[in-house]
């Protein structure tokens, strides 16, 4: 017995720290983020100045806030292609209720939250009930909401936007919470960055430290096995879709509060960016593996590249090419890292 124990210890020591690091889903993305930061810092002084940092952190936070629940959903084994358009739905709903229907701003916020939770529930319910790929179900939701966003906005406002939220009573408190800036090193940083950090921490804590997190990994990893050991897989899936919609509510309302106005087609196309951030951050497309921090680092990479290209005076038309290349690189790197980590175990 002692002999076995001694041998066991040796077997662990072989791989040790390196493996422990490598096996973290977000490890590859962290390296990537450092490389990209150094790269653009060399290219441009503005990029690493406080003003520059405030700028790309802002861009990263809008993606990152959504990337966290999208990553959790992906770990749970599903996609939400309606995650982007739901941002518009949430903002438009609050905007129309306050500026056109004259509803109290807080009542409107609660109402739009309920609306979003209902949308998330429908997504989750249909996915669990029909057993169809979430890809198809949420594609339907995506197209449907896209139509509703435009149709209702035009119907109510005769334009393709809802504006003047800044004239609504109670607006200023909201602006302080969601759309103000914090001065760091003499430069204004969007408060949304703080929210992003907070929600990333919360998401990570939920995934790794709670039983709900355990259920998310299990449901995405093997739904059948999970069900057989008593994990409420359907409830977990529905909760994840509702969580995504709740975050869309937060982000949509942050946008309308910050700018006082919102376009009917806001968020369309963003859903893929969220998925890209999650994948760059180490999420497995097949579910069961990934991290919230990784998704946020993915969003950070996205934000840095988007602004870095501008600061480096490159033609920003090529931005998406970089994103595409990074996505492929990340997937390959993650695959390699995972294989290496698993081999070094044997």
């Amino acid at each position: 017995m002692t002999a076995t124990a001694a041998r066991a210890d040796e077997r662990i020591a072989d791989v040790g720290v390196l493996r422990r690091l490598l096996v973290k889903p977000e490890f590859g993305a962290l390296i990537g983020a450092v490389v990209i930061f150094v790269f653009f810092s060399i290219q441009s002084d503005v990029f690493r100045s406080p003003a520059g940092v405030a700028n790309w952190l802002d861009g990263a936070s809008t993606v990152g806030l959504m990337a966290v629940p999208v990553a959790m959903l992906m770990i749970g084994g599903h996609f939400d292609l309606s995650a982007g358009v739901q941002i518009g739905t949430a903002g438009l709903a609050t905007g129309i209720m306050t500026t056109y229907w004259g509803l109290n701003v807080y009542a409107s916020l609660v109402a739009s939250l309920l609306l979003m939770l209902a949308i998330g529930f429908v997504n989750g319910y249909l996915v669990t009930r029909t057993g169809l790929p979430s890809f198809i179900i949420t594609l339907g939701m995506f197209l449907g909401l896209q139509g509703i966003n435009l149709g209702v906005t035009k119907q109510v406002t005769n334009t393709v936007q809802v504006s003047n939220l800044d004239l609504v009573p109670g607006y200023h408190l909201l602006k302080n919470i969601l759309g103000s800036t914090v001065s760091v090193a003499g430069k204004p940083f969007q408060i949304a960055i703080l929210w992003w950090v907070l929600f990333t921490a919360l998401g990570s804590w939920a995934l790794l430290k709670t039983r709900f997190g355990n259920w998310i990994f299990a449901t995405g990893g093997d739904p059948n096995a999970s069900k057989n050991v008593g994990v409420p897989t359907n409830r977990t899936t529905i909760a994840l879709f509702m969580l995504t919609s709740a975050m869309a509510w937060f982000v949509g309302n942050t946008q309308i509060v910050r700018f006082g106005t919102i376009q009917a087609q806001v968020g369309i196309g963003q859903e893929l960016i969220f998925i890209v951030a999650a994948v760059i951050g180490g999420c497995l497309l097949t579910g069961g593996y990934g991290s919230a921090i990784g998704a946020s680092v993915g969003a950070l990479i996205f934000g840095m590249t988007q602004q870095g290209i501008v600061y480096a005076n490159w033609n920003s038309d090529w931005f998406k090419l970089f994103v595409g290349a990074m996505l492929l690189l990340a997937v390959l790197a993650n695959q390699f890292v995972r294989r290496f980590a698993e081999q070094s175990r044997r």
Partner: protein
């Protein structure tokens, strides 16, 4: 206690005059037009082992999946403590104290050993919004339970998918043993295990039985089943070939009913004759030894 007739009808071994832990009456299960099980009946008593034996595709896994809440029977009744029960999910069965080692083990390959061990039954600490998965307790118990099985887990954070087949099976067994409060169901738990670990599993079955649990043990190996079993349910193509108390059947008969004892013995001899140098000779000897000591 009102069901005196049931106790008599189930004609079990002497001394067991109470209501059986589990009674299965004429259970039928169909998948579309396929009749996977038809009119199966047996009993499981607290402190006894009921073995389910049969060929591949005989319906053994389907049978236990009805008892563990994965499937619901199309006809027939399952009675627990004399009361009809209908588990509509594995969760309900677990809550009633029924723990199962499924044939496919029901582990999530990418998750750590300790996370798998407590999956679906996570211990928590803290309260309200701060309630969290008690990882220390989970790891401690997992390590202890695995050590009891004779498996020395190198690293509890290792994904279950990277364990060897036998280690993986041991995780599933240790988990069921830990959570099974009243009934323990094992679906071919020894199929991937070494001789020593298989022995440990048999020991576990005996321990669970002695603790007063009911046990359902599925195996292809009559030499594993006979020494520990109190009751034997034989299935073939979804039908019952018989439901025997141990006193009613010998190992030889059991083996013959299953696959033909003579064939098996001949196979054992053939294996031993073939290769003196090969591993198969060891297997053949083992089989022969088994037949001698038990038969």
């Amino acid at each position: 206690m009102s069901d005196i007739e049931i106790t008599e009808a189930s004609e079990v071994s002497p001394g067991a005059d109470d209501v059986p832990l589990l009674e299965i009456r004429d259970v039928t299960k169909m998948f579309g037009s396929v009749i996977s099980l038809s009119d199966i009946s047996t009993t499981v008593r607290a402190g006894q082992v009921t073995c389910v034996l049969g060929d591949n595709g005989a319906g053994k896994s389907t049978f236990i999946k009805i008892l563990s809440g994965v499937y619901q029977p199309d006809r027939g009744d399952v009675l627990m403590d004399g009361e009809p029960v209908r588990f509509s999910s594995p969760r309900e069965a677990l809550d009633a104290g029924v723990a199962t080692v499924f044939q496919d083990l029901a582990v999530v390959p990418l998750m750590a050993v300790w996370r798998n061990f407590f999956l679906g039954s996570e211990p928590t600490k803290g309260w309200g919004p701060f309630r969290r998965f008690d990882a220390e307790t989970a790891k401690k118990i997992t390590r202890a339970e695995m050590a009891d099985m004779g498996i020395d887990i190198r690293d509890l954070d290792q994904p279950v998918g990277t364990l060897s087949g036998g280690e993986r099976q041991s995780v599933a067994i240790a988990r069921a043993v830990h959570f099974g409060a009243r009934l323990l169901i094992l679906d071919e738990p020894t199929s991937a295990l070494g001789v020593k670990q298989a022995g440990t599993v048999l020991k576990y079955i005996v321990q669970a039985r002695d603790k007063g649990l009911g046990v359902i043990f599925i195996t292809h190996n009559p030499h594993h089943a006979y020494p520990v079993g109190d009751r034997f349910l034989l299935l073939k193509r979804g039908k019952s070939l018989g439901d025997f108390a141990k006193s009613e059947i010998s190992l030889a008969e059991l083996t013959r009913l299953m696959a033909g004892g003579a064939e098996l013995e001949q196979l054992a001899h053939e294996l031993e004759r073939e290769g003196d140098k090969s591993e198969t000779s060891a297997l053949g000897r083992e089989l022969l030894d088994d037949t001698k000591t038990l038969g």
